[in-house]
Structure formats: C-alpha cells, structure tokens
C-alpha cells in the first residue's frame, strides 16, 4: 500500500516505563527489552532512569542498577536502533551526559518545563558539539499557551535542537489541543527542525492524539511496549503501529515483532498492569505530571487520605514536573486539616 505519511518512532519503555516499575528494571530486563525492541526496527530507544540521567534519588526513587550498568547494557544489546537518553537540567548535568556518551548513547533529549527552555541552552549546545542527535522536550505542554510554546520551541531550535517535542506529561490534552500546538510549532520552526509529540494515556486518547500530531506535521512520535510508562502509560507501540498501518502512516516498525515484544517480554515484567484506574485518570483530569502516580499512592496510604484529593490539589497549585516532594507536603496538609482555600493565591497556600 502507499503511505500518506512517514514518521520515526522513539520507544520509551526503558525510560518512561521505569516510572511504572519504580525504576527497578535490572540489567537482564534492560537487555531483554532492548533486544526485543531492536528486532522491531524502531528508530530510537530511550533508556535511563525515568527522570533522566542523574535521576536516581530519594525524590524520584533510586534505580535498581547504576546508570553505567543500565544504559551500558542497553547500548550493548542493540544492533540497529539508536540509543538515546533523557536529561533534565536541574537534575542531571553535562557530566552525566558525557558519561552516557561514553557508554554509547547517540542522542539526548533535553527536557524542561514548557516555559523554561533557556535552562537547556548549555546542554543542547554542548550535545551538538559532541555530535549527538539533540531533541528539545517541552514538558507539561498542556499548561502553556500556544504562543509561548512557539517562543520556547524557537529558543530550543536556536540552541541546536534537531527536533522539538510537544510533551503531554500529564496526559491532559485532547486532539484539538494537540493539533493546535503541534501545527503552530510546525509552522514556526525552520524546515530542518522536526516536531515531535509525546503522549500519556490518562484520558484514553494517546493513540488518537499521536495520529492527530502526525497529521499536523509531527515527524517523531514516542511510544512504549504495552504502553509501559508513567500514569496510565504512554502510547502503546504495538497499538500505534497497527493503527498507523491502517491509516497510511509508515513507521518502519514490524507490527508482529512489536506485538510479541509487548506480550512476551514486557507484560511479564510489569509490576502492575498499565491501566486507566481512578488515580491515573485523575492525573489526566487534574493535569498533573504522570510520574506522580506511584508517589501519590504511597503518600495517600501513609497519611490515610484519598489519593484523588492529593492530585487535584497539586493540579490546582500548578505544580510542575519534578516537584514530587510536594506530594508528601500536600498529603500532610490534607491529613492535618490544613487544606487550602480553593480560591486562595498559591503563595498564601504555601504559607500553610
């Protein structure tokens, strides 16, 4: 059949999927998943702690393996795909990136909150000098107006990004918003800078959103085997590839190999099924960073409060990615009856 679109998929099972297993994938898991992914023909494989290089911490959870062992194992297991890593300035550093390059990664995705692109300048410029494929990742794009996203994307392009992503970290976007934001970036960025889209399935529309993004000119799309990822998971690779086949989008991914990898390699390694349960759904509904899921469940148990109350309050306070420490503080406040006035300004809420 003839295709209407051609795209490139970046698989995030070994990075975003780490959130869903509390960063506990072993070197053996990493090798098995990386080899299975390599056989699907997927263009790029992202591997690191869920919060990127240097993410192993009390705040986000310690990884089972050292970064060297984990990323190194993925690089060695892969023959044709390119291995890339995530880096969040403020968490990981250029030194972490240089070490990962030594392990064999060939690209880096530099992520900032969608209004803070300028903290990525140094990392992107240096990554370009190192000859890496460089992606700018505008997290929590649902919180930011289209015009501002365009400005921030242009900054990332000026630092040397080959591609800039609209990242729906909270799985809070619906198709019309995806279309508006992706098409605005496509129009504003120079032709040689690609546009990408990263979805979470908290509202059940990850595949639909990703297809809408392709129609608006996104060239890179993120997906993961069986959808393994934070919150209700990412765009499931095998589902997306099947939908793309039917829709006339060329992905370069072997559908059966992707199905087998999801079913035989990833599902048996899941700590819990990836599904849109009430917590994951609340993330999308309240517009909260998907990685908060397991942390919020833990805090809800510890302080005996409803996890949904924690998440809705975090959304109201416009907490951004990486602020996992706010989960415990909000749970504590709710448990101690210090729940904030719903209309009060954020600063006064924080005065507790």
């Amino acid at each position: 059949m003839s295709y209407r679109y051609k795209i490139e998929i970046t698989d995030v099972t070994l990075r975003d999927g780490m959130h869903a297993v509390r960063h506990q994938f072993s070197v053996e898991d990493a090798k098995a998943i990386a080899s299975a992914l390599d056989r699907t023909g997927v263009a790029k494989i992202e591997a690191s702690h869920g919060d990127g290089l240097g993410g192993s911490s009390i705040q986000y959870g310690f990884s089972k393996e050292s970064e060297e062992d984990y990323v190194g194992a993925v690089c060695q297991a892969v023959k044709t795909s390119q291995v890339v890593a995530l880096l969040l300035p403020g968490i990981g550093t250029l030194e972490d990136l240089k070490r990962a390059v030594g392990l064999g990664i060939r690209g880096v995705r530099v992520a900032t909150h969608s209004t803070e692109a300028d903290i990525s300048a140094e990392h992107m410029e240096e990554a370009r000098k190192m000859g890496l494929d460089v992606v700018g990742f505008l997290m929590m794009s649902h919180m930011t107006e289209t015009e501002r996203l365009v400005e921030e994307a242009k900054k990332m392009a000026s630092y040397g990004a080959h591609c800039v992503y609209i990242v729906d970290s909270a799985g809070a976007m619906l198709m019309d918003e995806v279309r508006r934001k992706v098409s605005a970036l496509r129009e504003a960025l120079p032709d040689h800078v690609q546009v990408g889209f990263h979805a979470h399935n908290n509202l059940g529309v990850a595949v639909a959103n990703s297809i809408a993004a392709v129609e608006e000119g996104a060239y890179r799309i993120d997906a993961s085997l069986a959808g393994l990822g934070a919150g209700a998971g990412n765009t499931p690779l095998e589902v997306f590839v099947a939908a793309c086949e039917k829709y006339g989008i060329e992905t370069g991914v072997d559908l059966y190999a992707a199905m087998d990898a999801a079913e035989d390699v990833v599902r048996p390694r899941m700590a819990r099924p990836v599904l849109t349960d009430r917590t994951a759904l609340t993330l999308g509904y309240a517009g909260v960073y998907s990685s908060f899921l397991l942390h919020a469940e833990r805090a809800a148990k510890q302080f005996e409060v409803d996890v949904r109350d924690i998440l809705v309050e975090l959304g109201r306070r416009r907490v951004v990615g990486g602020q996992e420490d706010m989960i415990v503080d909000v749970a504590y406040e709710i448990a101690h009856g210090k729940e904030a006035n719903a209309d009060g300004p954020v600063a006064s809420v924080h005065r507790g």
């Binding site: 911490s57 009390i58 403020g90 803070e116 306070r317 416009r318 951004v320 415990v328 954020v346």
Partner: protein
C-alpha cells in the same frame, strides 16, 4: 568608627538586592555598583541611591584606581574566575555570590567565622544557604550517609545568570552539603516553577541517618528547631513548612523562605537568603578587621 567601603559587581537581581541590604548595614557602606549594561535597572537604582556607578566592568574600575575594602561579586561563575584574579592582585577581599567557588565555602548559619582570613570566600548558592544548615543540624547529632535537597524557586526569581549556571548550582550545592553540611555524600536538584502568583522559595531536605532510634530522632528534631531559630536571626522569613517526617532511617525536612521584598517581591526568598548571607559575612569580616586593627594599635 569608619565603615568598610564596598563595591558590588553585577547589577542583576542579586547585586541590586544586596545593595539595598548593605545600605542598612552599620558596618559596611556600599559605594560602587559596577555592571556591564548602562541601561540596567540595577545601575539606575544604584545612581538613585547615591552610589558611584560604572557600566565598564570591574577591570576598568580597578584600573581607574578605585580600591574598595571589600567587593561582592554577583555576576556569573565564568566572570568571577576573571574577577577573582583581579581582586587577588589588587589585595581586595572578595565575597563571591556566584557558584564559581574559587575560595572556601561559607554558609552563614554554619561556618561564618571559619574563613575570615581567606581573601576570597564563596557563598555557595541560594539553595546551599537554605539547606546546608538543615543537613548540618542533623549531622551534628547523628552521621548522615546521604543528603539530598530539592530547591524549588519561582521562575521569575531566576535571572539569566542563574539559568545559565544550572549545572554549577547543583554541583556546588551538592559539594557544600558534604563539605559544610557534613553528609558523606550529597545531591542537589533545582526546579523552576512558573506559577502565578509566584511561589515562595521552597526546599526539601532529605537525610539518611546512620541511626534512627527514638532518642536520636528527638535530638535531631531539637537540633533542627534550634537551627531554624538561628537562621531566622538574619533571614526572618525562613521557616519549616511542616514538622520533619521520620521514616525508617530517613528524615524529610520541608522549609520555605519568604524574602524581605527589598528588590524583588517576597516570593524571591532565594535571592534574600543569598544576599543576607553575604551581608552577614561582610559584617563579620568588618568586625574582625576592626578587632585586628585595634589590637595592633594597643600594641
């Protein structure tokens, strides 16, 4: 008694806030404000407040023969590397508010008097001034095998210097958690939050303790509370968000810093704690110099 004369290099958020605080000091008189942008708001304010200003940078001003007793550098890590050399050659005391870390670390609440004889001291980072005292409060009671801090600041309070120095921030803060905080290993994370109205500076401090018996926990709690009161003597808006939480060998401390609103509004507690710490060191240095001088006179 004659005040020490001071120059401030860098007319951004930090330099301007520092100037306003130094104007109130009984020990130090800010006389020069040196920037590189003649249009900057900081230089304009400095002129209004009666300081001599220059937009030609530190080197040009020193070449004109200006010799302050003490220079506060609020530029960038890269610029301070050059400035440190110039000031050393001119024999001028340097207080470095960038993460360049050419001189020893000073955390105002912990080791204020340790480096009064060092010609260049480094004020670490705003996150360091706010969190190292908490780690120290734990480690003076019980061994801390790992300390991790997460500093969340309002986007509006982070100027271009801070934004260009994100790696230096995390690395310098982490080293200070070890060197001054007393943790065996340290890690620092910084997050910018663009919420409107802007959030107050907020820090979470995690310490993994070598012993977490109830007696130790009680002592740690007391030590933390004591330290909060001590920091409040020069940063009144420094406070605990909630009681510290103990879980197994982990203690989690959450603080926020409300600024005095000298230059930026009160949300910029990160600015405030940095400049207040620098003033505190400057005044301690001034007192020390006068003691030395009067001791020599008496001889």
């Amino acid at each position: 008694m004659k005040k020490l004369s001071a120059a401030i290099v860098g007319s951004g958020n930090i330099g301007t806030d520092l100037m306003i605080k130094l104007k109130r000091s009984p020990w130090i008189e800010p006389r020069w404000m040196i920037g590189i942008d003649p249009e900057s708001d900081g230089l304009r304010r400095a002129r209004e407040m009666g300081l001599e200003t220059s937009a030609d940078g530190l080197k040009a001003v020193l070449e004109q023969g200006v010799r302050p007793d003490i220079v506060f550098d609020a530029t960038s890590a890269k610029a301070h590397v050059r400035h440190a050399k110039l000031l050393r050659e001119a024999g001028i005391q340097a207080v470095d508010l960038t993460p360049a870390a050419r001189g020893p670390y000073v955390i105002a609440a912990v080791n204020l008097e340790e480096h009064l004889d060092s010609p260049n001291v480094n004020m670490v980072t705003c996150g360091g001034q706010a969190t190292v005292p908490m780690v120290y409060a734990v480690s003076r009671v019980v061994g801390v095998r790992y300390a991790e801090i997460v500093a969340t600041i309002a986007s509006k309070s982070a100027g271009p210097g801070t934004r260009a120095n994100i790696d230096e921030f995390t690395q310098t803060t982490a080293r200070a958690l070890e060197a001054i905080g007393g943790a065996k290993r340290g890690k620092a994370i910084i997050i910018l939050n663009p919420a409107e109205p802007p959030i107050l500076m907020r820090d979470t401090i995690y310490c993994l303790m070598e012993d977490a018996s109830p007696t130790t926990q009680a002592k740690v709690l007391e030590s933390i509370e004591q330290m909060v009161r001590h920091v409040q003597t020069f940063v009144p808006g420094y406070r605990l968000n909630r009681e510290p939480i103990f879980q197994d060998d982990l203690v989690s401390i959450s603080i926020e810093v409300e600024g005095l609103g000298d230059y930026l509004p009160v949300y910029a507690g990160n600015l405030d704690i940095m400049t207040a710490a620098a003033v505190k060191f400057g005044e301690e240095y001034a007192r020390h110099k006068m003691q030395v001088a009067s001791a020599e006179e008496a001889r």
